[in-house]
């Protein structure tokens, strides 16, 4: 029979604090798992449709890949080819820069201008607003086809120019006029941006204008020192979205450049004379006509990086000129 001294000592009971912590940890973990379960549709979708394709395209950008054969690793060859050997790369970059440099500022100016005009309208504001917004609702392809008709050298626009004894450009058949033609199409479709500016303009506090009036500010000073700062967040938003859209400019140019031929076989993308060859058109041509998928993936990664750098640059620069209400800059 064992003595008291020989009896095994019971294990020391865990302190209440440790037990409480363990329970708290378990409960936090359970909460995280529940949150994760609710988020899982998004996580799965994001991984499958964003992360995987991006990782795959990054891998393909270092390969020769024609869809049909297994990709073969070529290191930086595609990137080297892009910057040193591809004769269509730099023209496509130049055309893309042209559209960004001209279209984005003009769209903002045009949208602000038309929004200001609309704020002055006393009657039928909703009708005018609808008229301005309507082009935005037209599918891009249909809009481009309509403009091909309007700007046909024998079409209504040139007939009107002829009546006014003005020069009649060949528009989409003349490499010097193709991009200005697209510019007109871009300005016609400015309705969405205009609506944003209209909302921003109507949101400017009246007392600021009253204060400016008391200080003796004229119309320009009111616009420069009151309106512009107050709508600057919308300008900033429009510029960022416009620049991103400019880098991805494709549909309008694709429709217009291949409109000359219903078969699409005789006019290469970018017709005439590569004047409508934009970065994404070139990417499409390499990927889906030349089946150089590896090279097209490299082009898309360069575009992605350039867009990212430009956006970061714009965000950084915005601190100097974008005014947020409440003094937050």
């Amino acid at each position: 029979m064992a003595t008291v001294a020989e009896r095994p000592q019971p294990a020391p009971a865990p302190s209440r604090e440790v037990e409480r912590r363990r329970r708290r940890r378990r409960s936090a973990l359970r909460r995280q798992l529940v949150a994760l379960a609710f988020m899982s549709p998004w996580i799965i979708g994001f991984s499958l449709f964003y992360v995987y394709p991006m990782a795959a395209s990054l891998y393909f950008s270092f390969t020769h890949y024609d869809i049909l054969s297994e990709p073969t690793w070529v290191g930086l060859d595609n990137y080297r080819f892009m910057f040193t050997a591809d004769a269509q790369f730099w023209p496509s970059v130049r055309n893309t820069m042209w559209i960004i440099v001209f279209l984005v500022p003009l769209q903002v100016i045009f949208a602000v201008g038309s929004a200001i005009v609309l704020t002055r309208v006393k009657r039928g504001l909703s009708i005018y607003r609808t008229i301005f917004f309507l082009p935005t609702m037209v599918p891009l392809v249909a809009a481009a086809v309509a403009w091909v008709f309007l700007l046909n050298p024998a079409g209504p626009v040139n007939r009107l120019l002829g009546l006014l004894h003005l020069p009649e450009p060949l528009w989409f058949y003349d490499p010097g006029w193709t991009k200005p033609g697209l510019l007109l199409l871009g300005l016609w479709m400015v309705g969405q941006t205009m609506i944003l500016f209209l909302a921003a303009l109507l949101d400017v506090p009246r007392q600021l204008y009253e204060a400016a009036d008391l200080e003796g500010a004229g119309p320009w000073q009111r616009f420069r020192h009151v309106t512009l700062p107050m709508i600057s967040p919308v300008i900033f938003f429009s510029v960022v979205i416009g620049v991103i859209h400019g880098f991805q400019y494709f549909t309008e140019a694709f429709v217009v450049s291949s409109s000359g031929d219903a078969t699409g076989l005789d006019h290469p993308i970018g017709y005439p004379q590569d004047s409508l060859l934009f970065f994404t058109s070139h990417l499409y041509q390499q990927g889906f006509e030349g089946f150089h998928m590896g090279y097209a993936a490299a082009l898309s990664w360069v575009m992605f990086l350039v867009i990212m750098v430009c956006t970061l640059f714009l965000i950084r620069g915005s601190r100097r000129w974008v005014h947020y209400q409440g003094g937050f800059r």
Partner: protein, 445 residues
């Protein structure tokens, strides 16, 4: 731990990406007895046919049921080459693919995207040389792999307005480029403001389907690539001669005037409408495909026309009668589940005289086999017969096939547009640059 997990995830994604190129599998050429008892089955055919052409081709495809009652065809239109390639890559190809892009044949043959049909042809004792005119092999095989076969074809020749020519005292269609230029100058009429009223011939590259570097190059038998496979636009003097002829022709009329005339016609859009320059009597001569005969009829054009082979270079009269050919191709994609049955359909659509003559009559394309050429009622139409004869000519050909497909013609075509606009100061240097671009594209694979 977290870093390891991220690393593992990245590796898994990379591995998944690396395997994404797979799909489909080659099965050995199989044969079946078509007259034996078979369970009913449906074969899927993809093509880019639409509207009227879709209906005609569907009817002919489905007529295989008369030959093999157990076989039904489901025809899916609106599928271009990219869609077909994606399906092959995804392992779900159609049982038969129809492509309008013969320049992609080299890629199909080289990569095995379309199965080699030589074993099937041998099994069925089909003598290729006896079945088809030699021109078809210029666009259906690559490195001795016959991965596609023609299902009708196109041929290019000269259309001329008989009334306009006879009004200027021209009794015969031009046979050389010099004759074409002279006749065109006579036929061209101007408005009081100096703009063109009637163009004798539109020499502008990129205008209609017949205004391409390749079709003009045929007049000189210009070679795209030398024997070693290197681009030869700068080394074959025929290209420079062709471009110089073309530019001198453009300059004689005036580039701006021609551009305005083309644009006011509606540019390339007018090619597929009743406002076509030739059909409306605003262009006296043009090079075009045999399908124009059908368009002229369908558009109810009153043009009094005739056809002839396209003019050749002055010193290449031996080429007269030949021309650019090439048209719809069909094949069995990699990874099909019933290759033997697919072959029966491909054989029917590429060799059966009844099917081909019916299809040719409906689409107004040139029948592609010797038998169908001989038996087609289209030969009764002298204007259409010109194109059948061009197709039969042993010197008729498509352009040299390469794995870069249409890219070479696109790049050279764009160069040609700049050249005719006077934006190329040194032709030889420019051609060397295009050669260099093509070589780099070939390297890209």
């Amino acid at each position: 731990m977290r870093r390891r997990l991220i690393g593992l995830l990245a590796l898994a994604l990379l591995a998944a990406a690396c395997t994404a190129g797979g799909g489909g599998s080659d099965k050995p050429a199989a044969t079946i007895d078509p007259n034996a008892q078979h369970d009913p089955m449906t074969l899927t055919v993809w093509s880019n046919f639409s509207a009227r052409e879709y209906d005609i081709s569907t009817a002919v495809l489905q007529s295989i049921k008369q030959k093999y009652p157990w076989m039904t065809v489901k025809h899916v239109g609106g599928k271009d080459d990219a869609a077909i390639l994606r399906a092959i890559n995804g392992g779900t190809p159609p049982d038969m693919a129809i492509s309008f892009t013969p320049s992609n044949s080299a890629r199909y043959c080289k990569t095995g995207a379309m199965q080699d049909l030589n074993p099937y042809l041998t099994n069925d004792k089909i003598d290729k040389a006896k079945t088809w005119p030699p021109a078809i092999f210029s666009y259906t095989q690559f490195d001795n792999v016959q991965c596609v076969l023609p299902m009708l074809t196109d041929a290019y020749g000269l259309y001329y307005n008989k009334d306009l020519l006879s009004a200027k005292g021209i009794t015969e269609p031009p046979k050389t480029l010099s004759e074409l230029t002279e006749a065109a100058k006579k036929l061209t009429e101007f408005n009081p403001d100096g703009s063109i009223k009637v163009a004798g011939y539109m020499p502008l590259l990129g205008f209609y389907s017949g205004n391409t570097v390749n079709i003009y190059g045929r007049a000189y038998d210009a070679k795209w690539y030398d024997d070693s496979g290197k681009p030869s636009l700068a080394t074959d003097p025929s290209w420079a001669k062709m471009l110089q002829w073309q530019k001198s022709f453009v300059d004689a009329i005036g580039y701006d005037k021609l551009q305005k005339f083309a644009a006011k016609l509606g540019g390339g859009d007018s090619e597929w409408s009743s406002s076509h320059g030739f059909e409306t009597g605003k262009i006296a001569m043009m090079i075009d495909g045999e399908w124009r005969t059908a368009f002229i009829k369908a558009d109810k054009s009153k043009v009094n026309y005739a056809t002839a082979p396209a003019p050749t270079a002055d010193d290449r009269s031996d080429l007269y009668g030949s021309g650019q050919v090439g048209g719809t191709i069909i094949g069995i994609p990699k990874g099909v589940k019933h290759p033997a049955e697919s072959w029966l359909l491909v054989k029917y659509m590429s060799t059966d005289s009844g099917a081909l003559t019916k299809l040719a009559a409906g689409l107004r394309n040139v029948p592609s086999t010797n038998d169908a050429l001989a038996s087609s009622e289209l030969a009764q139409d002298p204007q259409f017969k010109t194109f059948m004869d061009i197709f039969k000519n042993p010197k008729s050909t498509y352009k040299t096939l390469t794995p870069i497909g249409q890219t070479d013609e696109d790049l050279f075509g764009t160069f040609g547009e700049k050249w005719q606009a006077g934006k190329v100061p040194d032709l030889q240097q420019g051609l060397e640059q295009v050669d260099s671009q093509l070589a780099k594209q070939l390297q890209l694979g």
